[in-house]
Amino acid sequence: MEYTGISAASGYALGIAFLLQDQQLEVVKSEVPKDHLDSEILRFEEALGKSAQQLEAIKERTRQTMGADEAEIFAAHIMVLEDPEYSGAIKDLIRTEARNAEWAIQEVTDRFLKLFADMDNEYIRERAADLKDVSNRLLRYLLGIKSQSLSEITEKVILFSHDLTPSDTAQLDKDKVVGIVTNIGGRTSHSAIMARSMEIPAVVGLQDLVEKMKAGDFVIVDGSEGKVFVNPSEDLIQRYKEKQTGYEAQRQELKKLVSQPSMTPDKHQVELVANIGNPQDALVAVKNGAEGIGLYRTEFLYMGRQELPSEEEQFEAYKAVTVMFGKHPVVIRSLDIGGDKALPYLDMPKEMNPFLGYRAIRLCLDRTDIFRTQLRAILRASAYGNIKLMYPMIATLEELRGANKVLEAVKQELLAEKIPFNKNMEVGIMVEIPAVAVMADRFAKEVDFFSIGTNDLIQYTMAADRMNETVSYLYQPFNLALLRLIRGVIEAAHKAGKRVAMCGEMAGDLTALPILLGLGLDEFSMSASSVLPARALVRKLPSAKAQTVAKAVLEMDNPLEIERFVKQEMQRLI
């Protein structure tokens, strides 16, 4: 069977399907004869022992691959497993009720869950999730169901999931997960971005495919065309094996461009840089020839944990990346949390319209304690390389000035403490709210650079949710309204002698690149895996030609027509 979704990360993968889903564990209540009660309790104790062994192994692996903090989660699970009141109550229940172990586990677990649910404490309510995890592990063992936890994947698989949360992706091991398929999402959803940055072929937006799958189905993922084949013919498997080989060969060819300049044949130079979320991504960016970091998403430092990261921890994470890039720029974006990225420990209220609400710079200007800690860490790291600071979600000049005021206060603090930092660190803003694009001439006087965040700029300009597939016809980068906004921002910035970057998904799109180059964009920041294909194109595309293309495109009005036109022009060129 063939299914078509949205291409999220290119490349080809062949393998066995692994279904990640909330398993419904069917527990039946059955009577156990009195003379079998001892062996029933023994069965339960064996499940306890085996589960503890599994958890110890997972904890150790997590400690090695992800660090001590992440491993703590599993230490907490082991503690629940060893809780004498928990296991004691289960054994008592088996004996007094003469029932099976599975039923007793469920009964006792529910009792504790009820206790926890009534507590007025976020931390304890979260422990309910640990308990649920542990009881599911015990039940899976007793019911003979193979475990489905991400960190326990031991062979190469293709991961199927309704959606992938940031904490799911944090656990992905790219040596084990060779392809990703999800029901929901688009090219810019979190799972797609992560898949691209980890270079795992991925197809998203497949609606209900995951429900139709059986664990162990053989699958081909065509991340380039957005196709998934379930139990394909031998013929097709053979064809895709060849495609995969060809794709790998092409990648090897591209690797030759790693240390070549991003210069057009008529000697116009641009910068091709990478978007990253953590120091590990920075390594991938270097391998792919990125000339710096155009967007360091700091929110990942804040996610998947119990409390705010300390100044020291952030300083290390920022310093590690800037040291890696030396004199090349590393643009660090201050915390962009809220919207679809919430932090449980900040206790943020649920909002009707999170994308229009309390997030990013709005939150930072309110919670200056959080903001100051981050600014201190960024400034301290600026002493070790070429760091630039960028504020997200700026809407007004007042917000920009407010943020700069906090920055200035932190600088004074560091000066007084005699802590070194780069006093001339450049400060720029994201252009992702149409209000800023319209006011670009005024902002240009007060910033060192702009970076156009197209993912949100498209969403806010077209009033179309980027996760909503039914309005995806509006969420198009080739809308003339968007292209005009981009042109306006570049013109205003250049008039003031400032540079313009783009760090949305559009910057890595090979069809958008000729238009953006023609409009005069200075810096393109994209997933690491897009850098080399973009460089190959830049090195073949005269900037004069790009300008002609951009000019022609701005006379058109249909996104599909624009896309077709650019593709044709590029084909002629190559």
């Binding site: 629940v80 809780d83 009141e85 422990r127």
Partner: protein, 82 residues
């Protein structure tokens, strides 16, 4: 043995402090109980401690009974008063 303590940890007896108490209590052969109000629970059980919901500045009674009860009380006292 019985002794009353006031919880100093600003986050109460949750998270790390609770885990450390369980580990400490579990390292002794004697029984260890915590009493808050009319509830008495097994201090070797992390879930029972969490379910007791002990906040900062609350008073709890620690009871140790059996082999090495004095040593256990001493060690737990050091932990709670640290």
């Amino acid at each position: 043995m019985e002794k009353t303590f006031k919880i100093k940890s600003p986050s109460g007896l949750h998270a790390r402090p609770a885990a450390m108490l369980v580990q400490k209590a579990g390292s002794f052969p004697c029984d260890v109980f915590l009493v808050k109000g009319d509830k008495k629970i097994n201090a070797k059980s992390i879930m029972s401690i969490l379910a007791l919901g002990i906040e900062a500045n609350e008073e709890i009674v620690v009871i140790t009974e059996g082999e090495k009860e004095a040593e256990a009380m001493q060690a737990i006292g050091e932990l709670l008063e640290a």
